[in-house]
Symmetry: C2
Subunit: 209 residues, 2 copies
């Protein structure tokens, strides 16, 4: 099955499978059936088998799934078996929080630089040992370093312009925390995290309850 044919809904669930399998691994569980896993994750066992079979048969009839193998296979699907260099645009509260989050590093997401327009932050190491550069230096930095992912943690006003500059320099993916939708060339991946929209969804659900 071509990866391109895998439904978006399945892909969205993949990291959650990965998380649960990681927990099982920590507990020392060797094998698990789709039925046992479905009880833990509160989904149907049918869905688990369907989902995993989009990527090939990871299980074995009469036995179930071998946890370490499945964990590794999903890691590979998610690209966690290699290192991704990542820069963070915007060294405000959110940018620093994301840059400081050590767990990303553990999964191979390597944060190499921060960028900010505030001259007071530039030249300093504001988070761990990560240096902060001026916004103007994005192009030079990308010429001299390998960067795959940019985290966009700036207000929406500046976001489209910076996104364009990143795309012009060949960024592969943008993790977009700015409150706007970005228009990028084909081939550039955008993953939006619209926090205020998430909060509004919560607010809607409260009204309902």
């Amino acid at each position: 099955m071509d990866r391109r044919d895998v439904p978006q809904a399945v892909i969205t669930r993949l990291p959650r499978y990965y998380r649960y399998l990681g927990e099982l691994l920590e507990e020392g569980v060797e094998r698990i059936s789709s039925n046992e896993l479905s009880e833990r994750m509160k989904v149907t066992s049918s869905q688990i088998r369907q989902d995993l079979n989009h990527f090939g048969g990871f299980g074995q009839q009469g036995y179930g799934y071998h946890v370490p193998t499945l964990y590794a296979e999903i890691a590979r699907l998610l690209g966690l078996d290699r290192v991704h260099n990542m820069i963070v645009i915007g060294a405000g509260n959110l940018g620093r929080a994301l840059a400081g989050y050590a767990n990303f590093e553990k999964r191979g997401f390597n944060i190499t630089a921060l960028f900010d327009k505030n001259p007071e932050l530039v030249g300093k190491k504001n988070v761990r040992d990560i240096e902060t550069y001026a916004m103007e230096d994005i192009e030079e930095y990308m010429d001299t370093h390998e960067v795959e992912i940019a985290v966009l943690a700036i207000p929406k006003t500046g976001a489209p312009e910076v996104a364009k500059r990143l795309c012009d320099k060949g960024i592969k993916a943008i993790w977009n925390f700015s409150h706007t939708d970005l228009d990028v060339p084909k081939g550039v991946v955008v993953e939006n995290v619209h926090l205020s929209e998430s909060l509004m969804k919560l607010s809607y659900a409260m009204e309902e309850a």
Copy 2:
């Protein structure tokens, strides 16, 4: 139509409609047809009409939708016409970033307190004029203040216990940034923001491109 019958997919799109209508409002646009809006938002006009009709007829045949009215109606649906008091559990980088985000306040999400287990932070105003309390003081604070929403910005190890304490004290909703799924009593709303899962989704899409 009962709100309970509105599909989750529609609710998820509601804040995005709200955002685009806000932009139209800023541009001074008075009326818009589902077709014009569909071009801006890159969705079908059918979907817009279907979605909005889950909540009643906001439009007018031959005219389209009156932007200020529709904007206000969606705000009301999302509960943005009233104030929600919110506390932030965990005054680490992420907790401070969320507490410091002034835009939430603009939408009526009022952050009244931070809580942290680090004694060095307790008693200080670490973000704007918001005081940080000790973790032990959650119960007392909730007894003496009206709190509807708790933002959970602590590591997953502590999350289930704190979530239980919040629920016991009658919290209405938890905005969960801890990397775990919470088990809460019926009636308590949970909205998850699993950042590392979002990053993995991005990573998957990169592999594919």
